[in-house]
């Protein structure tokens, strides 16, 4: 039904957020992806997260690369500027945009082909730099638009729809993100909105490089027996270490705190994450332990999900560069041009 325009009217009783917007105000155009695509669930989760956070839609810049996942920014936040850039190069465009205006919220949307293959370098370097962003990889292990080739996140030994067995080792983007210094690292599943929405909210509030790997089954090319990115496989092998509730700066903590099972993680902007531990031993602030935990479970064929790591005192690229508070794109001649008198002194120094 993707050829139908989305109706503009909506039920007058739709709930509104603090800004008076309904979730419809955070939608984009109708998705042109396949019916049942995991990516559409992630789109829904982003819409819900932004609605619940009461973000002004135009304060978000959504930037993507090329591929099915990179098409999705058209389907959410229709009042935000979007940029569908070049294959594998979303991170550099986002980094530049972020440098120009530190006041917007940057949402980078990419896929496993876009980020783990052609864009692996840019994926790595934007995390190294600590760009303040939410970087979501919609990970289905397969190239959809070009009809079903393996991507670099496809597990070794998994089978393609055509029956070919993948003999290459897979890239675990979460492990890489941890190793590269991302200050917020999570994995979730497009089929688990309850886990995904609060993770996205917490990532947006996080003042640093937040990376979320979302396993998102491809119903057209990677949802068969033998695939390790199918709905059934992910459900069966999902090893959630925690579930979380995101508590914005404005909200009181409404949870019953049970010592030992709930951990409150305070973020730099004052928001809090109430972490309900499903694995009592999992420590969310220990980068090295997280890496070990992931590898240990991956060896058993399990997919670890949840908030896997968050740095308490995260810093972003602007802090590293010590840039002015005012966005660089707001500065004019007065602030930027040293003028003719200074130029005269420069000339004098060159004789």
């Amino acid at each position: 039904m993707t050829y139908l325009a989305k109706p503009k009217f909506h039920h007058p009783g739709l709930p509104k957020n603090e800004l008076g917007y309904t979730h419809r105000d955070y939608e984009g155009t109708v998705s042109t992806l396949c019916a049942g695509c995991g990516h559409d669930s992630i789109t829904g989760a982003i819409i819900q997260a932004c609605f619940e956070l009461a973000i002004e839609p135009h304060r978000v810049a959504k930037i993507s690369g090329i591929g099915c996942s990179s098409k999705t920014p058209t389907y959410f936040l229709g009042n935000s500027h979007g940029f569908n850039s070049v294959h594998g190069r979303m991170p550099s465009v986002l980094t530049g945009a972020n440098l120009a205006n530190r006041d917007l919220i940057y949402l980078g949307v990419s896929g496993d082909g876009d980020s783990a293959s052609i864009g692996l370098g840019q994926f790595a370097h934007c995390l190294r730099r600590g760009v303040n962003m939410t970087y979501i990889v919609e990970n289905n292990g397969v190239y959809g638009l070009t009809k079903g080739q393996f991507s670099a996140t496809a597990d070794r030994g998994s089978k393609s729809k055509r029956g070919v067995t993948n003999t290459d080792n897979s890239i675990d983007m979460v492990a890489m993100a941890l190793q590269l210094g991302a200050s917020f690292v999570a994995r979730s599943f497009s089929g688990d909105k309850e886990q995904l929405v609060p993770i996205i909210k917490a990532a947006i509030a996080h003042q640093g490089a937040a990376f979320i790997d979302v396993i998102s089954p491809c119903v057209a090319f990677n949802n068969h027996a033998g695939s390790t990115k199918s709905f059934d496989f992910v459900r069966e092998h999902n090893e959630a270490v925690n579930r979380l509730d995101f508590i914005s700066t404005r909200m009181p903590i409404g949870l019953q705190q049970e010592p030992g099972t709930v951990e409150i993680v305070e973020q730099h902007d004052g928001s809090r994450i109430a972490l309900r531990k499903l694995d009592a031993d999992y420590e969310v602030h220990d980068r090295a332990a997280a890496l070990g935990f992931l590898q240990h479970h991956a060896a058993k064929g399990q997919i670890v999900t949840g908030l896997l790591f968050v740095e308490k005192e995260a810093q972003d690229l602007h802090a590293h560069l010590d840039t002015v508070e005012e966005p660089l794109n707001k500065l004019g001649e007065k602030e930027l041009c040293p003028g003719s008198a200074v130029l005269g002194q420069i000339n004098a120094g060159l004789r």
Binding site: L99, A100, G121, L350
Partner: protein
């Protein structure tokens, strides 16, 4: 006795230093050039260096010209041969009647030398070994000692050198006295032991005036500061790295908030050229002025992104400091060889804006102007520098800036205009100049947002694969390119004293050699009109200049006559009328080369047919 009469010239000669890379000669040699400038004599130094950090041969050439001819001349009048590796070749390159200064500590057989030059030996190593015990000092002071020798040999103002030493080591004052001492060790040796001055002499003049002495890359970077660039993303590559380094230094001085001490700029050394240009495009899309600096291989890597910026209409400034290609080519040699790869960068139908500075003064002006052009035309702008301009010091007119100048941010729709209900179509040509309005992200809560993409779209930025809107958009981009013809820097014409059928087109670093060559061509009895190209697309005056002459010489520093191809292609001119004059061995083009090539052509063209017997 020399078989050629020793050269005898005042304020008009070429000195060449042959050194070993990494031996610390560069600063001594530069001081030599600077001291001559301080004597009021125009000077043009050139660094001829290898792609190497230590050990390979390197040369520093100083052209002294009271007449102000500052292009490369070719040939060496006085060779300071300090590198045994290149000794034989260096001696062979001296002009007949020229001079050789060498380290005579180890005696050479007479067969090593030529009998048509004057050989001057100074036991530099022996002197250094006697004066200094530390090996590094022996090496470093040797450079200053030979400068001291030269002050006596060519009548150089020793006070000017002493002053430069004092300036150079300001803050490291301990080094001043030993350097001045070394200078005098050399000078005193020459005064006591050598005939001096030689036939090549300096005499104080007043031909420098208020000119400044600066490298093109530093000037271009200063242009970027004045032009309002706030984001620089770059990847190290010779010969452009010093542009980004200079921007960093300028910003640290000129762009720090006096109260908070925070930076009004952001500089990222990216992971590669793809990321550099990606960051530039992201920043410019978001309303900041952004640039990258690179060279040919970087341009090749940026192709896909440049096409995106063209098609999605995002400003970007790219400083291309050209070096000899193709591939890695000769990374430390100069050429003008990226014209076509920049003019038509990326797949599909694309055309880009280029500007061609001739020297550091223009590199500063065009370096600033490029940001206005990029914002006005919403497209990538290439500032076409080369190694010759970028990495050498040039004596150039001083930088100027008009404080009344306001940046041209181009067509940007504001929140107020959107609120007032002004129609916003991102790719809608409301003014007929092919340039649409854009909005910066975050402008208005409900109006003016759009999706930027490299895919086809309609006038309101809505995705479409329909043929008609695609063609409509591509035609508009051509209209915009037409608009650019009157916006980019216009060519400059210098007509010959008498009417002529011949013209010459040239651009960039060829300018000083061309200006000198014109006199040489005239002295062969030919008249020729000159046009210096400064921007692409070509202004209509380029067409008329070609139309007004029977034959046009197109002088450029590449093998394939790339500028000539652009003229043929863009102006629809019969190639027969454009005679290529090509210099592409990696050295800067010389007046001698141009004058000979054009002069020989003109001799043939103007040859009168022999009288036919009746």
């Amino acid at each position: 006795m020399p078989t050629a009469a020793p050269l005898s010239r005042i304020n008009d000669f070429v000195v060449r230093f042959a050194n070993v890379n990494g031996s610390g000669s560069a600063s001594a040699n530069e001081m030599f050039a600077r001291a001559i400038m301080r004597m009021g004599i125009p000077v043009a130094p050139r660094n001829i260096f290898p792609s190497n950090i230590q050990g390979l041969p390197t040369w520093y050439e100083v052209r002294v010209s009271e007449d102000g001819h500052l292009g490369a001349r070719g040939g060496t009048d006085l060779m300071v041969a300090m590198n045994p590796q290149t000794f034989d070749k260096d001696i062979a390159s001296i002009e007949p009647g020229g001079y050789l200064l060498y380290d005579s500590t180890k005696p050479y057989p007479a067969s090593k030398f030529r009998d048509d030059i004057t050989v001057i030996g100074v036991p530099l190593t022996a002197i250094c070994n006697r004066e200094y015990t530390d090996p590094r000092q022996r090496q470093l002071f040797k450079n200053i000692i030979y400068i001291g020798v030269l002050t006596a040999l060519i009548d150089m103002d020793v006070a000017a050198v002493e002053k430069l030493i004092t300036e150079q080591y300001k803050g490291k004052d301990k080094l001043i006295a030993p350097n001045i001492k070394a200078l005098h060790i050399g000078r005193d040796y020459a005064i006591l032991n050598l005939p001096h001055p030689i036939g090549l002499k300096l005499r104080k003049a007043d031909k420098v005036g208020d000119k400044i002495f600066v490298e093109g890359n530093a000037a271009a970077a200063l242009g970027a500061v004045y032009g309002g660039a706030t984001v620089c993303a770059w990847y190290p590559i010779t010969p452009s790295s010093s542009l980004a380094d200079a921007f960093t230094k300028h910003c640290a001085k000129l762009r720090v908030d006096p109260q908070t001490k925070k930076a009004k700029y952001a500089i990222i050394q990216a992971e590669d050229e793809l990321a550099s240009i990606g960051m530039v495009i992201g920043a410019a899309w978001n309303g900041a002025r952004a640039f990258t600096a690179t060279s040919g291989p970087g341009i090749s890597l940026m192709q896909e992104f440049i096409g995106l910026a063209y098609f999605a209409e995002i400003p970007a400034v790219i400083f291309d400091v050209q070096r000899a290609g193709p591939s890695t080519g000769m990374p430390t040699r100069t050429q003008q060889c990226d014209l076509i790869s920049c003019a038509y960068a990326s797949h599909g139908d694309t055309k880009h804006i280029m500007v061609f500075p001739e020297n550091p003064a223009e590199a500063f002006e065009m370096g600033a102007q490029a940001f206005d052009l990029a914002d006005r035309l919403q497209t990538p702008v290439f500032v076409m520098l080369d190694l010759e301009i970028g990495m050498n010091h040039h004596l150039t007119r001083p930088f100027t800036w008009d404080d009344a100048k306001v940046y041209d941010r181009g067509k940007v729709m504001t929140a107020e205009e959107l609120e007032a209900g002004k129609d916003f179509g991102r790719y809608l040509d409301v003014d007929g100049d092919g340039i649409p309005y854009r909005t910066y992200p975050g402008t208005h809560p409900t109006k003016g947002s759009f999706f930027t993409r490299g895919t086809s779209r309609d006038r309101y930025a809505k995705y479409t694969e329909e043929g008609a809107p695609y063609v409509d958009n591509m035609q508009r981009l051509l209209r915009k390119f037409e608009t650019a013809k009157d916006v980019v820097p216009k060519p400059l014409i210098a007509n010959a004293a008498k009417p002529t059928k011949y013209g010459v087109l040239y651009f960039g670093s060829t300018a000083p050699a061309m200006d000198e060559a014109i006199h040489m061509i005239e002295s062969r009895g030919h008249a020729i009109d000159r046009m210096r190209l400064r921007g692409f697309p070509f202004h209509s005056s380029v067409n008329s200049f070609v139309a007004d002459h029977d034959f046009i010489f197109v002088v450029e520093q590449n093998r394939d006559a790339q500028m000539r191809s652009l003229i043929v292609n863009e102006c629809g001119i019969d190639p027969v009328r454009l005679v290529p004059i090509l210099h592409f061995d990696g050295t800067p083009i010389t007046a001698r080369f141009i004058a000979k090539a054009i002069g020989d052509h003109l001799d043939q063209m103007t040859m009168k047919p022999a009288k036919v017997a009746s």
